[in-house]
């Protein structure tokens, strides 16, 4: 049984092809560029090519993310909280707290012993708590996005940012550059600032190990280090955690399909 999961996020569209709810056959991602539907089509094509599976062989498609209603051929859609939590628990079964830091929003969910979401908290109103903040810093500091994290790791004395607004922080950061603060310290300050925002969300739902980081920022070594330092405990990361929401929706699609096949007379969706 093959299920597909598509996460139509604000910054990136991510996709996963899953066999029997367990085995990842392919992952793919593309920038949304404001037209997530178009990116989603390309992601689907890429997944099929990688796994060598024709579209007709995909038994069930489940979407998530802010653009989850944009794909007419979907069989099911689930909220970002549910999918991202499911993906995190699949990767790290002992997860009790999921932190999902994305381009446009960050969210955190506490997870029960049975893998259910207990409590959640989200910031989608303010860029200072999202990957967008790092993107902006990358632009005006003229450091390519993928170099931000590795460069930050060299920091000896991170320069903390006092502004809690991404726009006001810009002035502060530029002043720091003018004052000759080392770039690595400025960059680590950016990640710490983002981590502190995530930390206050995490405290709201309750911090309990294991903590798993997922979403767009999980690939950023600067973010991972900053979050571990801020929370003061180990934080699970994995390459596939980048696809956690897409993975989770593929898993949830699989469970739904199993149920549907058990009760063929049930036409409810």
């Amino acid at each position: 049984m093959i299920t597909g999961g598509l996460d139509l996020g604000a910054g990136t569209v991510k996709g996963v092809l899953l066999e029997d709810g367990r085995r990842i056959l392919a992952t793919a991602s593309l920038p949304s560029r404001g037209i997530p539907v178009q990116a989603a089509r390309q992601v689907v094509d890429e997944l099929g090519e990688t796994a060598n599976i024709a579209p007709a062989e995909v038994d069930y498609l489940c979407t998530t993310g802010f653009g989850r209603y944009m794909i007419p051929e979907r069989n099911l859609q689930v909220s970002d909280f549910t999918s991202s939590a499911r993906g995190a628990v699949f990767l790290f079964p002992k997860t009790h707290l999921v932190v999902d830091v994305g381009t446009q929003a960050s969210r955190t969910m506490s997870i029960s012993e049975t893998g259910k979401v207990l409590k959640f908290k989200m910031n989608e109103k303010c860029a200072a708590g999202a990957g967008r903040f790092v993107e902006r810093c990358s632009k005006y500091l003229q450091v390519p996005l993928e170099e931000m994290g590795p460069k930050a790791l060299a920091s000896q004395h991170p320069k903390l940012i006092s502004s809690v607004c991404a726009v006001l922080a810009e002035t502060e950061i530029i002043n720091n550059v003018a004052e000759g603060v080392p770039l690595s310290d400025i960059l680590m300050g950016v990640f710490l600032s983002l981590s502190q925002r995530a930390y206050s969300l995490m405290r709201y739902v309750g911090i309990q190990p294991e903590v798993t980081l997922v979403g767009g920022l999980v690939r950023d070594v600067g973010m991972v280090k900053a979050l571990r330092d801020t929370v003061g405990m180990e934080v699970n990361v994995a390459p596939d955690a980048y696809y956690a929401a897409a993975l989770g929706s593929a898993i949830l699609g699989h469970s739904r399909l199993l149920k549907l096949r058990e009760t063929p007379s049930d036409t409810g969706g």
Binding site: G34, Q104, K125, C126, A127, A128, R132, F133, R136, S163, V164, C165, A166, V167, L168, T171, N175, A178
Partner: protein
């Protein structure tokens, strides 16, 4: 003894200075952009206002500093918060003022005052660029305009486009996406001004909305913002070409009181 006093208001974005004569008439004023060397900027602001008044430094009996950079006005004899100064300046210019709305480059304040121009209560947003001049600045840039152009343009809107993002960064992308969808920039600008008016109103409600309302700070010079506030409040707001100088004017007035031995 000469009774000439000066007030220097060092804001986040601009420095303002007002030189006041014996009869509390404005003899000279200056407005300049603030750079990295605030101490020097403060000096320059005073020099420019003195030049405007055809006076020299020795003619000034008392100097008061205010604004976010008030502690950098080293040549002054007194430092007063910009909240007291805007209250005082607004009350001087419009004696009926009971609520001052100060929208500056980087923060917004609502100040409720009594008939003597004293502060009764205030609320302020200095944590977030949304609802401040900075928000307009960023959005003007995103649309390819100078911030001075956007107020008048917004007045020509036919149907304001609703801007839903609160965050300046998200509003910037929202604005860009409206442009790519073919919306008229004038309509988008009207929506942006309305969005700030909304945010300002909630700040005002925290201290109580009571007429007369006087609009001060750099953004008060934006006609689009004046109209947006008027529409949102359903009542006119006092505004004058001097509105941007009210912090400096208030500082000078506080200095005059101190000079004449009164309480300040």
């Amino acid at each position: 003894m000469s009774g000439v006093v000066a007030g220097v208001d060092i804001g986040s974005t601009t420095a303002k200075c007002v030189v006041l004569g014996d009869d509390s008439r404005i003899l000279g004023k200056s407005l300049s952009v603030v750079g990295i060397d605030i101490v020097k900027d403060a000096e320059r602001a005073l020099e420019a206002a003195l030049a405007d008044a055809h006076l020299s430094r020795s003619d000034v009996a008392f100097i008061t500093g205010t604004g976010y950079g008030r502690y950098k006005v080293y040549f002054g004899q007194l430092v007063v918060t910009e909240i007291s100064c805007h209250a005082r300046g607004a009350s001087f210019l419009f004696p009926g003022t009971r609520l001052v709305v100060d929208i500056g480059g980087q923060d917004t304040k609502a100040i409720r005052i009594n008939e003597k121009g004293e502060v009764v209560d205030f609320a302020m947003n200095d944590k977030c660029a949304a609802g401040t001049g900075r928000f307009l600045d960023v959005c003007a840039n995103a649309l390819g305009y100078d911030v001075s152009e956007i107020g008048p343009l917004s007045l020509q809107a036919r149907r304001a486009v609703k801007v839903t993002s609160t965050c300046t960064v998200f509003a910037e992308s929202e604005v860009t996406s409206y442009v790519s969808r073919g919306k008229d920039p004038k309509d988008i600008l009207a929506g942006l001004h309305a969005s700030i008016a909304n945010r300002t109103l909630s700040l005002m409600q925290r201290v109580g909305v009571e007429p007369e309302i006087t609009f001060t700070g750099g953004v008060s010079q934006n006609q689009g913002m004046v109209r947006a506030l008027h529409q949102r409040l359903g009542a006119p707001v006092n505004v004058s070409p001097l509105s941007q100088y009210l912090g400096a004017l208030g500082a000078a007035l506080h200095g005059r009181e101190r000079l004449s031995g009164g309480a300040s």
